[in-house]
């Protein structure tokens, strides 16, 4: 209990410092995902802004839909979002169906770009302060551990500087990101529901809480639009 209070105090102080330093104070400290069941698992009622949140899961687990739900909410509020599409798989029509305003979504995709170039782009987008939410979907298999350590630290610093909601999408077997929050998504079972589990979150007392939710079709997002 005492630790959770201390973390909350630290988070509030970070927000105050950000405001004093004239960072985009219009941005909140938390941003809801758009799925009430998932938001209920997270302290603050959403993903933290200005910090990295890792969404981990297999290729058809539902983590992309979760990320798009959060980005869609940001774009519907009039803000800009970005998707660094290192795997070149993002399908914009599905993003639109999940409530994303495509005119406000910048997609970064380059077939021959190196991993380092894409991660540099992610860092630049996060640090710019121009985007309310940035999702980074870049495979890191080719990076050496030392390279990944350096790159991931820079991403964390960039997220802190820009104040955006930073979502890191990772696949099984890929290096873990130094994230403030980690959400694992398991593919749906027979009932069509994905299991979403928060395994790490700053200021969260009950790490490991999980919920089953339908992710591939975010009806809540569709209705809210």
């Amino acid at each position: 209990m005492l630790c959770a209070t201390k973390s909350e105090v630290l988070d509030r102080l970070r927000g105050e410092i950000r405001r004093i330093e004239r960072r985009p104070s219009l941005r909140p400290d938390w941003r809801a995902s758009g799925l009430a069941e998932v938001d209920a698992l997270l302290p603050g009622g959403g993903f933290p802004c200005g910090a990295l949140t890792e969404l981990a899961g297999g290729p058809a687990s539902g983590k992309t839909a979760l990320a798009l739900a959060a980005l869609g909410r940001a774009t519907r509020e009039g803000a800009l979002a970005a998707w660094v599409d290192g795997r070149r798989e993002l399908y914009p029509p599905a993003a639109a169906a999940l409530g994303v305003d495509l005119a406000r979504l910048l997609v970064v995709r380059r077939p021959k770009a190196s991993t380092i170039d894409l991660l540099w782009a992610a860092e630049a987008l996060l640090a710019s302060g121009a985007f309310a939410a940035v999702a980074v979907d870049v495979p890191t298999a080719g990076l050496r551990p030392a390279q990944w350590d350096q790159v991931s630290r820079r991403l964390v610093q960039a997220a802190d500087k820009g104040g955006a909601l930073a979502l890191w999408l990772s696949m099984p077997g890929e290096a873990r990101a130094p994230a403030a929050a980690r959400v694992e998504v398991e593919p749906p079972g027979r009932d069509g529901l994905s299991r979403v589990r928060v395994t790490q979150a700053r200021g969260m007392a009950a790490v490991g809480a999980a919920v089953r939710v339908r992710l591939a079709v975010a009806e809540e997002a569709a209705q809210a639009a």
Binding site: A65, P93, L102
Partner: protein
């Protein structure tokens, strides 16, 4: 690829004898050839427009421009040593051993005059070059300068004149100006008028930038000027001088009929101009090519900082010229001239059409920083090679100015590093082929696209294999008008579909093998038949949404062309 614009700059004048003379601002650029050379030679000192210091003793060498062995113009340093326009180049060299004589280049002078005209197009409805060293601006819209709200029309014209002189100064040119009624009178007063002592100045002569002559005072303003000020031609002026008609006042006193009788049409025109009557309209200048600016460096340069400084100055000039035409650049070409020969060209795409230097500089800096040149650089050129109309508002961002600036900068940086086409916003397309259902477009270009309507989704219930009933019947995409709500699409679409191997048991699909690993089928729905584009690239696919154990929901199709199953997307 250079874009050429249609149109032409004509020297012809259409006279309208009944209309009142238009209000014209004339901008005279004295010793224009000399100014042009000095401006191009301007080095890295940040502002000195004179010829830069040479290696000899660190002092600027006197400069003169000559043609056919005769001095056309010389700078203050050369005049102080006795050099005068009209001297032979040999004579001038004898007077001043350190004199630098540059051969005149009328083509370069014309290009520089046109460049300035382009920039001034942003100040007036029409601009007309009057060779070799005058630009005429239509002053009819002077009341709009500086946001309007001028106390009088004369004050508005004065503001226009000051703006035009300031623009010329920004581009490195010294200018004298005058506003008057009529093309020829305005030019004559700007080019041949002389400063008047304050005690003798008439009200319209008291502005620092130049006189603003009221229509009723045109003849009075022209009176003391020499007859060649009226632009009559050397032969007519010589004949008038032989009759002791040396100034405009004496010409105006002569009966018009007498001048017409003696000199014909030229005399008739001289009589009208002497009285300040010139109703001819400006012939607007239309740029033929896209702007390009050049800068010669003082000496070979090997470091980035002086290159960036020079590029910044070129960018300001090119941007001003584009802004005057209401255009923004979407691609720049930077050329670095190498020592002793050769050049390195670099194309720099921009995120969206813009004439804002602040948005050009970050990608230019990125490119310069990444260059590995084989030799030192002796000169720079910068050109806008692709342009488009710069829209007034790119995107209704609803954000603060600094956030908009941050967005423009980061997009420009990413474009510079990742290349053209790496950044885009998706635009939905009305195509049934899944991979054609969207197309990339420039992010932020134009008003925000209408959001794809949020479709109320009927949750698709996947049936377990072997059940008797299937949800979602086969339907052709060509008969969609009375179809049920559009089905859900996967959040991930593979760039290239992956072949699958189906495993079955007793006629039921039980597993799908992907990359050598079998995944048990938990449920599926379909087929959704997508067929079309028979006129170009025909396709016929039956799509299924399949839930695979340990993997999740996938979008697969059977291709009618080869009968095989492919994994096309994932509901991630």
């Amino acid at each position: 690829m250079e874009t050429r614009l249609q149109g032409g700059a004509s020297g012809k004048v259409a006279e309208q004898t009944t209309a009142a003379p238009p209000r014209v601002l004339a901008l005279h650029l004295p010793d224009f050839a000399l100014q042009r050379v000095a401006r191009e030679r301007a080095g890295q000192d940040g502002g000195d427009r004179r010829a830069p210091a040479r290696a000899t003793g660190g002092e600027a060498r006197p400069l003169a421009v000559a043609a056919q062995g005769r001095v056309l113009a010389c700078d203050v340093a050369a005049r102080a040593l006795g050099v005068r326009p009209g001297d032979s180049a040999v004579q001038a060299a004898a007077l001043c051993a350190s004199l630098e004589v540059v051969e005149a280049d009328p083509r370069a002078d014309l290009a520089a005059l046109h460049a300035l005209a382009e920039v001034l197009c942003g100040l007036a409805p029409a601009v007309e070059p009057w060779l070799p060293d005058v630009l005429l601006l239509d002053a009819s819209a002077a009341h709009l300068v500086r946001g309007g709200s001028h106390p009088s029309l004369r004050e508005a014209e004065r503001a226009l004149m000051e703006e035009a002189v300031a623009v010329a100064a920004r581009l490195g040119f010294r200018a004298r100006a005058a506003v008057a009624s009529g093309r020829a009178p305005a030019r004559a007063i700007a080019r041949f008028g002389r400063p008047v002592a304050p005690s003798d100045a008439r009200p319209w002569e008291r502005f620092p930038a130049g006189p603003v002559v009221p229509p009723e005072d045109t003849a009075r303003a022209l009176a003391p000027l020499p007859v060649e000020a009226l632009g009559l031609g050397p032969e007519v002026c010589e004949r008038l001088a032989s009759l002791a008609l040396g100034d405009v006042a004496s010409l105006a006193r002569l009966p018009p009929a007498a001048l017409a009788h003696r000199f014909g049409e030229a005399g008739e025109r001289a009589a009208r101009l002497a009285r300040g009557e010139d109703p001819s309209r400006l012939v607007p200048f239309v740029p033929q090519t896209l702007p390009e600016e050049r800068l010669d460096l003082e000496g070979p340069v090997e470091s980035a900082e002086p290159l960036l400084f020079g590029l910044r100055r070129l960018a300001e000039r090119v941007a001003l010229r584009l802004a005057g035409r209401g255009l923004g650049a979407t691609k720049l070409r930077m050329a670095l001239m190498l020592d002793p020969r050769g050049e390195e060209r670099v194309l720099v795409p921009l995120a969206w059409p813009t004439a804002a230097v602040s948005q050009w500089l970050p990608p230019l800096k990125e490119r310069v920083a990444g260059l590995r040149l084989p030799a030192a650089v002796t000169g720079l050129r910068l050109a806008a090679v692709e342009v488009a109309e710069a829209p007034a508002e790119q995107l209704a961002l609803g954000q603060r100015a600094e956030q908009v600036a941050a967005l423009e900068q980061v997009v420009a940086r990413l474009e510079a590093r990742l290349g053209d086409g790496a950044l885009f916003a998706a635009e939905p397309k009305a195509r049934y082929r899944p991979e054609g259902a969207y197309a990339p477009k420039r992010f932020g270009a134009g008003p925000a696209a209408a959001k794809a309507p949020a479709k109320k989704k009927r949750p698709v219930t996947l049936e377990e294999p072997g059940s008797a009933r299937r949800t979602g019947g086969a339907r052709s995409a060509q008969h969609a008008n009375d179809a049920p709500p559009p089905p859900v699409r996967p959040t991930r679409l593979l760039p290239k579909p992956l072949p699958l191997v189906a495993e079955g048991e007793g006629g039921r699909l039980t597993a799908l093998r992907l990359d050598g690993r079998a995944h048990r089928v938990l449920a599926f729905a379909g087929p959704e038949r997508l067929v079309g584009e028979w006129w170009s690239e025909p396709y016929a696919r039956d799509y299924y949404r399949v839930r695979l154990d340990g993997l999740g929901e996938c979008w697969i199709y059977r291709d009618a062309a080869d009968g095989r199953l492919y994994l096309h997307g994932m509901f991630d």
